[in-house]
Structure formats: C-alpha cells, structure tokens
C-alpha cells in the first residue's frame, strides 16, 4: 500500500473523528457563533464607514480605501488591488486568521498526544507507516480547519450579500480568494500544533506548549507590527517587515492577497515549505520515539 493511500485513510478517519467528538462539536458551534458575531460587527463597521462617506461617490470611496491601505502597507499595487474588496469581508478575513491559531491549538493539541496517552496509536502503527500516520493526522486537522473556515466564509458571504455590500460575483471571487488565502496560513499553524502534539504523551502538556509557542509567534508578529506603526507615524512611510515578523504565519496574508504573482508564490512557498518542514521533522521524531 502506498503511503499516499495510508495518509488518505488516516486523514479521512481523523476528520470524521474530530467532527464527531464532543470537543469538535463544541468548538464548531462556538466558532460559528463567533463568526456570526464577527461578521455582524464587520458589516456594522462598514455600514458606519459608508454612512460617514455617504456624500462621496463609489469611486471616491474606493480611492479613499486605496490610499488608506497604501499608507498602512506601503504597497501601492496591493492597495489598488484591495481597494475594491468589500471592507467587511477583508476585516472578516483578518479576524478569521487571527483567531485561527486559537481554534487550531484547541483542535490539534491532542491529535497525536491523545493517541499516545491512551496508546490507541498502537492499533495503527502495525498497519500504517508512522510517517503516514503523522502526515494523515496533519491533513485531517488541516481539512477540518479548512472546512470550518469555509463555513465561516459562507456565513460571512450570506450576511454581506444580505446587507447589499457586495454582489454575487464579487462574493464568489473574493470570498473564495479569502478562503484560499487562509489555507496556507492554517496549514502552517496546524503543522506547528501537530509537531508539538507528537512530542508529548500528556495532552495537557501539548496544549500548554502549543499555546506557549503560538503566543511567542504572535509576539513576533505584534512586535513587528508595533515597530512598523511606530516607523510610519515617525516618518509617514510604511517600512518592510522585520525578519522576525516572517516567523509569524499570519504575517503573510498581505503577500497572499497581493496582485503580484511573485509575492503570492513566495508566500505560498514559505508557508507550505514551513508546514512541510514541521511535518517531516515531527514525523522523523515520531518514528524514533517509543509509543
């Protein structure tokens, strides 16, 4: 049996297991409630923005947005590209990827650690290569998170269309694009969560370590963001990201949304490469450990 078939079988089972588990159901419901609240807030903000600029034409509204994005990112091409995007959907994307790591940490901390704790893993390792088992767990977790984010985007899309902020075509193109943007980012987070989960036999240690690691990465992102805002306020120009900000997977969202294919490919390469590195190294450690 090829490793790909093994990975597919393990991933499908992992997805089914997560959806059925109490934890999966509770987190799913909470995430959906959170997403409804978030999109309502986003549309309310967009509504207020539109009210404020009520006298301005649509073109002028887009131009104002373009200027604001260019000022905050320093990327004129990105600003032109994103100016036409529904604000509420863009805000929603930011919220989704900001909360994504929290969801992934809660879903993924016991993915391997739980199996090691109860030794259920022993039923699998006589039938599946350990590397396939590990990779299957990753794809199962990633698929679950991707399904949840897709559901969130659908909910957000329905609300935005109902509010009349976006048409059907724009929703499908931008909605899918935003969802696709979240995929490599969640892949990187899921890979980190799985790497950590494979190192512990006690899930609570996995949870604490995952939160700790995610928090450190978030601090890198936050530190870089504060530094850039400071620079912008001082000089009036946005500067490039600091090196340590690149360690924070969420920092790649702008590159992924860029109109420049090279930026998109670079961001994709880095995020997916990082995820692959975590899976390969996590898998190598898992293969060597006693279970």
């Amino acid at each position: 049996m090829s490793p790909i078939v093994e990975i597919r079988l393990v991933a499908a089972r992992e997805l089914r297991r997560s959806i059925r588990s109490v934890k999966g159901i509770v987190l799913g419901v909470l995430t959906l409630i959170g997403s409804v609240l978030s999109i309502l807030i986003c549309t309310w903000l967009e509504g207020r923005q539109r009210e404020k600029l009520g006298a301005v034409s649509t073109d002028a509204f887009v131009e104002l947005k373009r200027q604001a994005i260019e000022k905050s990112t320093g990327d004129a091409s990105l600003a032109s590209h994103l100016a036409a995007v529904p604000t509420s959907l863009l805000l929603f994307l930011k919220i989704t990827i900001w909360f994504g790591p929290l969801l992934i940490a809660l879903l993924g901390f016991d993915t391997v650690a739980g199996e090691l704790q109860h030794r259920s893993v022993r039923f699998w390792t006589v039938r599946s290569r350990r590397s396939s088992f590990f990779a299957g767990k990753f794809f199962g977790l990633w698929a679950l998170v991707s399904c949840i984010t897709l559901a969130l985007n659908v909910i957000a899309g329905v609300v935005v269309v109902a509010k009349g902020y976006v048409g059907g075509v724009a929703l499908v193109t931008w909605g899918l694009r935003f969802w696709a943007t979240s995929l490599p980012i969640t892949a990187a987070w899921a890979a980190i969560a799985l790497f950590i989960s494979g190192m512990f036999r006690t899930p609570i240690l996995g949870l604490l370590s995952t939160f700790g690691t995610f928090f450190v990465l978030w601090l890198f992102g936050l530190g870089g963001f504060i530094s850039r805002v400071g620079d912008m306020l001082e000089s009036g120009e946005a500067k490039a990201m600091s090196w340590y900000e690149y360690l924070y997977p969420n920092a790649y969202d702008e590159m992924l949304l860029s109109s420049d294919p090279r930026s998109v490919v670079t961001a994709l390469g880095i995020l997916l490469g990082f995820a692959a590195l975590m899976i390969v190294s996590g898998s190598a450690l898992f293969m060597r450990r006693d279970i």
């Binding site: 059925r20 030794r119 259920s120 022993r122 039923f123 006589v126 039938r127 599946s128 006693d290």
Partner: protein, 353 residues
C-alpha cells in the same frame, strides 16, 4: 521450598521453541473470508527472532540481552512476574519500543517495516484504549482498509472477525460504550483480522470474566496451526493449557525456556498429593515405592504432604509410573488427594523467579 531438585540455572538466556505438536490442528471455526493483498513472503523458519535484545529506560534495564527464537506455527508464552520485562519484550516485537541494543526480527523483517508486515502480523496491545467515538464496525473497517483489504471485501472481513469474537451485534455500537470484556474482544478481533501469520497477544484474558476468558482461550486454540501465536500473560494455568513452549523471564532476563513439557518436567517427575495426616516416616509403602526399578529418586515434601517421584523419560513414561506408584499406595490404603505430572508451570515459575 520443597526438597525437590533445585531449578537448573540456565546460563545462556536463549530459547528455542519446539515445533508445534504433530497432531492435526482443529479445523478453523471460521474460514478466512478473503486475504488482503499481502506482500511476497520471505520464507522463514523462525517467525520471531530476538538477538541479544536489551531495552533500557534511563538507568533502568527492563530487558537484558534476551535471545529468543520462536518457530513458525507454535504457540509461545512469555511468562514472568510483574516487572520481569514481558510487556517490554512484547512491545519490542510489535515495534512499539525500539531496542537499546540487539535486534528483533519478525518474519524476517524489522517490526517497523510495516509495509512488509502489513496483514501478516496482528497485535493485541495490553492497555491500548479503543477510539471511544468510533463505531465498532467503523473501527474494524478502517483497520481492514489499512491492512490493504480491497474496499469491497473489507466489511466482510471485519464482520467475520467480529463474529468470531462473538460480537456480531456490536457493529453499530460506539467503542466507548463497550464493557471491558467487549472492548477486549473487539481489540482481539482487530488483532485477528486478515488471518495474520503472527499474532501477538498481551494479557488476552486479563480482566475478563471466567466464561469470556474461556471463550477467548478457545478462540486462541482455534488459531493453533494457522498462525504463530505469542502470548504474554500472568495466568500460568492458561499458558500451560494453551502454549507449546514458553520463556520465563525474571528481572529482564530469560531464566528458563523450552517446550511446556520441559518447563514443567512433566515427563520426568510425578507429584502425588497425600491425604492430610498421612504418616510417611518409616511407612512400609515408602520402601515399596523406593524399590520400584523405574524410579530414579523418591522424595517426600513434608510441608505439602506430597510424594515426588523422579524417573528417566527415556526408560518409561509418566503414565506407567503413576500406575505403579498408585497401585502401591492404594494397597497400603493411603489417602490420595491428587496426582500431577511434573511440577506444574506455576511451581516452576515460583522456583525460578
């Protein structure tokens, strides 16, 4: 301790299991439904080989230079008290633990060569918990698919093996809702899925009620001749009943090994339990027994009120010895509580560990 012969210290901690008994195996209760796509077999005489295997956990040596060679087709027991290294040895055979030193071979491959051993080895781990949210059928189906059963045959195989452990009604039950005994049998079902050539069973009847334990033993016996079965257990009576051969472990080392007949010395000595209050000192029947030419030695274990007679297995057999000794005792109207061939595995283990 009785004044019977002290246990022979076994200098070389190695063991070779004898071939299975010559008699034809019982016909299987369930014919294999369909074989999964198994890899090309490597012809091996020994199903499992451990060569000077050592396992250390930090400074603690759990298994110390254990060498075993388990012949294909035999039912082999791993025996020993708590902490003897049985489960560690078992776990190294199953590939769960990596030996610190030495090597383990399963059907000619390292236990971690999953693709080569897929469907050829079934394992019942002692304390692995079934996935609580899975339905029993779903779990077995998934295991069958991972064993490379074609999708259309996987369910048939899973249902058959579940029926074999008497659990055909559990197909749609959640694993988390099963009782201990039911869960154990489902775990046993996954180990037997696909007619594996080697079945490793760690404490297969632990925690089961006597009826279920009996059924599980029958199930294992039913596999005799169809697979090499390796059982790690505390239940010595069970092992004595099921196994062809065994290795006794103590403090991580093999202290004795061989066929069950050799281990229990059932072809070399007979124990006659005498009735309470039987006088042995100076009794005329004692001399009559001693005068039997077929006997090598006669001893009395005062503490147990037991008569122990030793004989040369090449010259006579246990049944003939029993007949002669009992004839003398019955004529002398000595009360007899029981007769056993050999020391019994339990006594042997007590002597050695």
């Amino acid at each position: 301790m009785s004044d019977t012969e002290a246990a022979k210290p076994e200098s070389a901690p190695s063991a070779e299991a004898p071939a299975p008994p010559a008699e034809a195996p019982a016909p299987p209760a369930f014919a294999p439904v369909v074989a999964p796509r198994k890899k090309k077999k490597k012809e091996v005489e020994a199903a499992v080989r451990l060569n000077k295997v050592t396992k250390r956990f930090g400074t603690k040596t759990a298994v110390d230079e254990v060498t075993l060679k388990i012949k294909a087709g035999s039912v082999y027991g791993l025996i020993g008290p708590n902490g003897a290294g049985k489960t560690t040895t078992f776990s190294m055979m199953a590939g769960y633990l990596k030996p610190t030193e030495g090597s383990v071979e399963m059907l000619g491959f390292a236990p971690t060569q999953v693709d080569e051993l897929r469907s050829r080895v079934g394992v019942l781990p002692q304390d692995a918990v079934l996935p609580a949210n899975d339905l029993v059928g779903e779990f077995l189906l998934h295991m069958a698919r991972l064993q490379d059963f074609p999708p259309e045959k996987a369910e048939e195989a899973a249902r058959t093996v579940l029926a074999e452990v008497d659990g055909k009604d559990w197909w749609s039950q959640r694993c988390g809702s099963l009782s201990h005994g039911m869960a154990k049998r489902v775990a046993l079902a996954q180990a037997l899925l696909g007619e594996p050539e080697v079945v490793l069973l760690d404490e297969p009847t632990a925690g089961l009620d006597p009826r279920v334990a009996y059924e599980v033993r029958q199930l294992i016996k039913g596999r005799r001749g169809r697979a090499t079965i390796i059982i790690s257990s505390h239940n010595l009576q069970e092992l004595e009943e099921i196994c062809d051969a065994a290795a006794i472990l103590d403090r991580g080392r093999v202290v004795a090994s061989g066929s069950m007949t050799e281990l229990t010395a059932s072809s070399e000595e007979v124990h006659v339990k005498l009735g309470r209050g039987t006088k042995t000192t100076g009794a005329p029947w004692m001399q009559q027994v001693r005068d039997l030419k077929m006997l090598k030695r006669v001893e009395i274990d005062e503490e147990r009120t037991e008569l122990v007679v030793y004989f040369e297995r090449k010259e006579t057999d246990a049944e003939t010895v029993i007949a002669h000794v009992l004839w003398i005792l019955l004529n002398a109207q000595v009360k007899i509580s029981g007769v056993t061939k050999g020391r019994g595995l339990e006594q042997r283990v007590m002597d050695l560990t």
